[in-house]
């Protein structure tokens, strides 16, 4: 008999605020949720900037803060929120048994050092020698560590004392799906009792935007609903996002007297080649599998649709068909309110789903196209989908625990 898997701690940081109350207020309680958008700093590209964080609250030692750039600080901060929410802070016995899976992107480059090299290299007598000389003198040793993807997990170990084990998954959006999926599978199979899993993404970083720009994936100009973007060429609006979850077996949670936000019913991942129809067919199979898990009314869907033309059109087509068939109630595109958070998207959606179940409600639509409809029933299950900008299709379901 597979073990029950519970979400018992959620850490969330975004353009809307930090913590569960701030997100519930901004996404569910206000009449008309308003995204927070920076149109200036990365113009012509808008993005959803992180709210200011009082880093001292979660990373008390300045020496630790100095060893990181913002991406690692954001992740370490958000992981701290999740651990506090799960009642683990200071419980070094538990923390030393807690396993960690982080879905990571790259840390920051030193834009000033890069600028100095790029502006000088063309006039250098020997460009390659110039590059070696300047890199040797301009790069800071600490910046290398701030760039390494696994050093987010490393900093979480140092700052928060999570030391059961530490693994870092790579691969953009699907790495966030795989991270939660592997944790789910391991707990069900008895390969560990308690895990910290999640990721962080910083929007507006120009080194990252350059990488996205060369693939033609960025939406320029005023953001519109992801559901309106496919017919206008498609594109993503990035959003700063931190999302960490404490996930544990039911037995383990009960033994330490913790209540769950929700139970994870399933997490499924796939990676198609994205030939027309493939991603939707994969997601259809995933949904059919998930629909067999647990009953209840048609669940609402939290979709991580990025606004890329083909993928978003396909996903919307599938979701519209599922609505017509009465198999799901309605949809929320998380990118409309939070932006696209890459590795952090799926952990955030599973966390938001669990939050909504625990508050016996759902989030309000943020969509001028009318595809997103109000949710009248109190959901007892919520489905999360996350398709990568480039590749990867993931789906999960969280269920209310009575």
């Amino acid at each position: 008999m597979a073990r029950e898997v519970w979400i018992t701690g959620i850490g969330l940081t975004s353009s809307l605020g930090e913590g569960l109350d701030a997100h519930w207020r901004a996404m569910a309680e206000v009449d008309q949720p308003q995204p927070v958008i920076d149109r200036v700093r990365a113009a012509p590209f808008a993005f959803h900037p992180m709210v200011p964080l009082d880093l001292d609250q979660q990373i008390p030692r300045k020496a630790d803060q100095r060893q990181m750039e913002f991406w690692q600080r954001l992740g370490t901060y958000t992981a701290g929120l999740a651990l506090a929410d799960a009642g683990l802070v200071g419980d070094n016995e538990q923390l030393s048994q807690t396993h960690m899976v982080v879905a990571a992107g790259a840390g920051e480059r030193d834009a000033d050092a890069d600028e100095g090299i790029l502006t000088g290299i063309s006039s250098a007598a020997n460009p390659e020698n110039f590059l070696n000389e300047r890199l040797s003198s301009d790069l800071r040793p600490t910046l290398f560590l701030a760039q390494l993807p696994n050093l987010l997990a490393g900093n979480i170990s140092i700052v928060h004392k999570v030391t059961g084990s530490s693994r870092t998954f790579l691969g953009e959006e699907i790495s966030g799906v795989s991270a939660v999926e592997i944790v789910f599978r391991r707990i069900r199979a008895g390969q560990g009792d308690i895990f910290l899993v999640g990721g962080a993404s910083v929007a507006g970083r120009k080194d990252m935007m350059l990488q996205r720009a060369i693939g033609g994936t960025l939406w320029a100009g005023e953001p519109v609903s992801v559901w309106a973007r496919p017919e206008r060429g498609g594109g993503t609006v990035l959003g700063s996002l931190g999302a960490f979850l404490v996930i544990e077996s039911r037995d383990h949670a009960e033994a330490r007297g913790r209540k769950p936000y929700a139970r994870i019913g399933a997490v499924l991942s796939q990676q198609t080649r994205r030939r027309p129809g493939e991603a939707a067919a994969a997601a259809q199979r995933q949904f059919d599998e998930i629909a067999e898990v647990g009953g209840g009314g048609p669940p609402p869907v939290l979709s991580g649709a990025t606004g890329m033309a083909q993928a978003t059109a396909e996903e919307q087509g599938l979701l519209a068909a599922l609505i017509d068939q009465g198999r799901i109630s309605t949809v929320r595109g998380s990118a409309n309110i939070l932006g696209s958070g890459i590795e952090a998207t799926f952990p955030a959606l599973m966390g938001l789903g669990a939050l909504a179940l625990s508050r016996r409600g759902f989030f309000r639509p943020v969509d001028e196209t009318g595809f997103e409809q109000p949710q009248s029933e109190t959901p007892d299950r919520i489905v999360a989908t996350t398709w990568g900008i480039w590749r990867g299709e993931g789906m999960g379901v969280v269920e209310a625990v009575d």
């Binding site: 590209f45 063309s122 390659e128 993807p149 050093l151 900093n155 599978r185 720009a213 693939g215 796939q270």
Partner: protein, 427 residues
């Protein structure tokens, strides 16, 4: 119906049925093994890029695998493909392009490289003052699909998954210099869970660029013994002064023992124990008391269901940095006690350098070959013993010995400690 083979905890036994290896010593397991047991070094002067102004001018680069364009992701992929092809052919599993299990791939962090960055900057509108803004502006109009794809972290695994037809979404991972071992651990866990009967575990890393060398240099991690490249990597020696950065790849085909037997596959070894322990002391240094490294070793031995004195040979992490080798020796002594002095231990890195993300997978492959052949590869360049490290490092010459249980260690920046216990096929 035949009895299924389970381990001491009632889990399916995990067998290795295929191995592929590429290092600076050459392509393929046989060539590598011949060179490794002959005590040859693959370390040489860097000729991929100019070495002016570099404190370290040597490396174990892979210079014989064709690849294009000339970027780290392209070579990392090509080398990973070569190793994977060999492993799958050896295992004789599935059909071409149809591997019956999931892919777990350890990869280095990749990013846009300097030649591309320069080309964008030079072609851009000079009236845009901000350097990155200028490159973003031209990048939007360039729409270079390959550059975009190949600098995504999912690129290498995606290409391997497509080519070899692995099932489900491939997993890309990094645990710094422990990554190769972590890839194997994920595969072992998947088979133990019964997710599938097979898993493909790959570690590949060909990321030696000028910037990478400089970055590791700035952390004082690299040997500066440039004069005789073959002699620079000297793990456990008193005069060790850092690791030698290197490239390589290894692939392992894992299967449930029962499934492998049922299809008549040759079983090379079993992965008997796996475990990790994260360190919370420092970003690049281990806890002075060694408790995290000790914890990883102890947990692995416990997971394998053996006693420490059953270990016949230790394939060391053995980077050749002053700190690592001391810490590894101390931690092994804490777990194995006095017996550690009689247990042969050697560092493949003395010959192939530190292949970073690939190291754990490559060294697992060589550990299996040690069991298969009964020959322990030496630790070369061991001319000046360190009196504080009392280990039998199999100095300079290979040794023939019956080996049925190997402990393979992998440690990395960021508090990563991952170990494997690899064992001969159960009698």
């Amino acid at each position: 119906m035949s009895q299924s083979l389970q381990d001491h905890r009632g889990r399916p036994v995990v067998a290795v049925t295929g191995i592929g290896v590429v290092t600076s010593l050459g392509e393929g397991l046989d060539d590598n093994w011949d060179a490794l047991t002959a005590g040859k070094s693959g370390i040489h002067r860097i000729n991929r890029f100019p070495i002016e102004h570099l404190r370290t001018t040597i490396a174990g680069t892979i210079d014989f695998i064709p690849y294009a364009p000339k970027t780290a992701p392209a070579l990392t992929l090509a080398t990973g493909e070569t190793a994977t092809e060999e492993a799958i052919a050896m295992a004789g599993i599935g059909c071409p392009g149809d591997f019956p299990g999931q892919l777990f791939t350890a990869i280095p962090p990749v990013e846009m490289e300097w030649p591309r960055r320069r080309a964008l900057f030079d072609a851009a509108n000079p009236e845009i003052a901000d350097t990155y803004g200028r490159m973003i502006d031209i990048a939007c109009r360039t729409n270079d699909d390959y550059e975009y794809r190949s600098t995504l972290y999912g690129f290498v695994a995606e290409c391997l998954a497509e080519r070899f037809g692995t099932k489900g979404a491939p997993i890309s991972l990094t645990t710094a210099c422990a990554s190769g071992a972590t890839a194997i651990q994920l595969g072992v866990e998947a088979i133990r869970r019964g997710d599938s009967d097979a898993a493909l575990c790959v570690g590949t890393d060909c990321s030696v660029t000028a910037e990478a060398v400089i970055r590791f240099s700035l952390l004082s991690a690299l040997s500066g013994a440039n004069d005789v490249p073959e002699q620079a990597s000297k793990p456990f020696s008193k005069d060790r002064d850092g690791f030698v950065i290197a490239e390589g790849a290894a692939a392992l085909v894992l299967e449930s023992y029962d499934a492998a037997r049922a299809r008549g596959a040759k079983i090379l070894a079993t992965i008997r124990g796996i475990a990790e322990k994260a360190d919370d002391f420092h970003r690049t240094r281990s806890k002075p008391d060694g408790s995290a490294v000790i914890g990883a070793i102890r947990n692995t031995i416990e997971d394998a269901g053996i006693e420490p004195d059953q270990i016949d040979y230790i394939n060391a992490h053995g980077t050749g940095t002053p700190e690592n080798d001391k810490m590894e020796a101390m931690s092994l002594e804490a777990v194995l006690g006095e017996r550690v002095k009689q247990t042969p231990i050697s560092s493949n890195k003395s010959m192939i350098g530190h292949t970073l993300t690939a190291a754990g997978a490559i060294e697992a492959a060589f550990s299996i070959q040690t069991i298969q052949t009964g020959r322990i590869p030496p630790t070369i360049n061991y001319r000046m013993p360190d009196p504080t490290i009392e280990l039998d490092v199999v100095p300079n010459e290979p040794r023939d010995e019956n080996v049925s249980i190997v402990l393979s260690n992998s440690f990395g920046f960021g508090g990563q400690n991952a170990c494997l216990v690899i064992s001969a096929e159960p009698a």
